[in-house]
């Protein structure tokens, strides 16, 4: 079906008026000629032509005015509204040309203004939501930066959304860690996915533990995984990973297990050897002197071997015990302050800021104990000064 434009249809409408008007005028003249004897119809043709041309001229002038003041302004307003429907145009609708359209121009102007206002409202709401999200993210960043552990916030597709400096330091050495990057390419994904499956099947909001290794297998990590509630959905929107490097701890445990096992085995073996030798000696008082001397020599060898094994195991035990003891870098002020807190009459002297790598709890207890023994009836001064190298 042919879709004609508004102006063409209006023009055709006026052209139809001209044609039908001229035809009616011709019929009228013919009727007059038929009732007037002696009046020939041909003599009326000039009158018909003058009338038709006059009608056409008047109609053309009316069409022109109609086209100028009605059809074109209607098309202009339609374009303006359509433009505002599809694009964010802030300028008001121009209605000067539509002054002859009555209230239509004003009504469309009001519609356009309302549309622009709704758009502004929506944009402001979106900007406010984005600002709130940015502020929330900044607050969350500030919070996780203060956390002692390495903390990573991930989407359910394992992409890193946030991470604190400790996490960056811990996983940064893999060379693939960063915001927006997939975490499952840095850590072994299977334990991570298994933990997330457990979370999805367990009670909402409950965290779980997983042990992962870095993709290169160099670092063993203990991860506590907690879900982040999704927006109005049962599925979590992401998860928070608290990561601790337990490589050293696990290795220390393994070394202690090995040490215990070797100590037990060495003791059993040596005790068995000594028992058998002693039983052989004690069970045969009439043993030949040469055989007795040989057994006694074996006993001495066994005792020496046991002593040597004990020394070796003791050295390893000492290293293993020292390795396991938890130590942290603590300001000397905190240690002395804690020690002095429960003891009246103790003053403190700190010559400069000193950080001490130690088991602070044991040190505080030691200082309290010493102060308790020494400080009866006299004032004590606790001082911390750096030792000259």
């Amino acid at each position: 079906m042919i879709r004609w434009g508004l102006r063409l249809r209006v023009f055709l409408f006026f052209a139809l008026i001209v044609v039908l008007g001229a035809a009616a005028f011709g019929l009228g003249l013919q009727l007059v000629a038929s009732r007037q004897p002696g009046l020939e119809a041909a003599s009326l043709v000039p009158a018909l032509l003058v009338g038709a041309i006059g009608l056409a001229a008047i109609t053309l002038w009316v069409w022109f005015q109609f086209d100028l003041n009605v059809a074109r302004p209607i098309l202009g307003l339609a374009r303006a509204i359509e433009t505002r429907a599809h694009a964010d145009v802030a300028a008001p609708v121009e209605t000067a040309e539509a002054r002859y359209l009555g209230p239509l121009g004003a009504a469309l102007r009001a519609v356009a203004a309302k549309l622009a206002e709704a758009r502004r409202g929506r944009a402001e709401a979106m900007a406010a939501a984005a600002a709130a999200e940015t502020a929330q993210k900044a607050r969350l960043e500030a919070v996780i930066q203060r956390v002692e552990e390495a903390v990573i916030v991930c989407s359910m597709s394992h992409h890193v959304l946030l991470a604190n400096d400790r996490a960056a330091a811990l996983l940064g050495r893999t060379g693939a860690f960063g915001l927006g990057r997939p975490l499952d390419r840095i850590l072994t994904p299977a334990p991570l996915n298994h933990a997330l499956d457990r979370l999805s099947q367990g009670p909402a909001g409950r965290g779980t533990l997983a042990v992962c290794t870095t993709a290169d297998g160099a670092t063993l990590l203990q991860c506590r995984i907690a879900p982040i509630p999704g927006q109005g959905r049962r599925e979590p929107g992401g998860y928070v990973l608290t990561v601790a490097d337990v490589t050293e701890e696990i290795e220390a445990h393994a070394e202690r297990d090995r040490l215990l096992s070797e100590t037990l085995e060495t003791s059993r073996r040596s005790a068995a050897n000594l028992t058998a030798l002693l039983d052989a000696l004690a069970g045969d008082p009439a043993m030949e002197a040469a055989a007795r001397a040989h057994f006694e020599s074996c006993l001495r060898d066994e005792a020496r071997a046991l002593s040597e094994a004990t020394r070796r195991l003791a050295a390893r035990a000492e290293a293993a015990i020292a390795r396991h003891w938890p130590m942290a870098e603590v300001p000397a002020w905190d240690i002395l302050n804690s020690a002095a807190a429960s003891m009246p009459g103790i003053s403190m002297v700190i010559t400069e800021e000193i950080a001490v790598t130690c088991d602070s709890l044991t040190l505080v207890n030691l200082l309290r104990d010493l102060a308790g023994r020494l400080g009866e009836g006299r004032d004590l001064v606790l001082s911390a000064t750096p030792r000259e190298p």
């Binding site: 030798l277 039983d279 074996c298």
Partner: protein, 126 residues
């Protein structure tokens, strides 16, 4: 005819002591120090009893025990396992692989003698 005992033990001190004690008890004794030599000795002349340490060079006592038990020609040979890893798992593993007895180090030689007597049928089972 005296019963024959093969001691498979790589620790020389307990090896010579056990050898002396067993010989004194009247057994025909041989002693080797690793798994391969033990298998060769068993195949050359099957003993009545093998006193078999678990931790051996070249071939473990468990491996040797299993190999011997897979050979029907050696099914009359008794195997008494000895180990310094004295856990329940070790004992169950040894017995599952076909050992007839298990003794954890350290042991009193009287206990070892009692086990040997029991396995060689010289004393009724307790």
């Amino acid at each position: 005819m005296p019963k024959s005992v093969l001691i498979v033990e790589d620790e020389a001190n307990i090896g010579i002591a056990l050898e002396y004690l067993m010989r004194k008890d009247g057994y025909e004794l041989r002693r080797v120090e690793d798994g391969e030599a033990a298998l060769a000795a068993v195949e050359a002349s099957p003993p009545d009893l093998i006193l078999l340490d678990v931790m051996l060079p070249s071939r473990s006592g468990y491996d040797l025990c299993q190999t011997i038990r897979l050979n029907p020609a050696l099914n009359r040979t008794k195997i008494l396992l000895m180990t310094a890893k004295g856990g329940r798992n070790e004992r169950e593993k040894g017995l599952a692989l076909g050992a007839d007895g298990f003794i954890a180090k350290p042991f009193a030689t009287a206990d070892l003698r009692a086990q040997v007597l029991r396995l060689l049928g010289d004393e009724p089972e307790k």
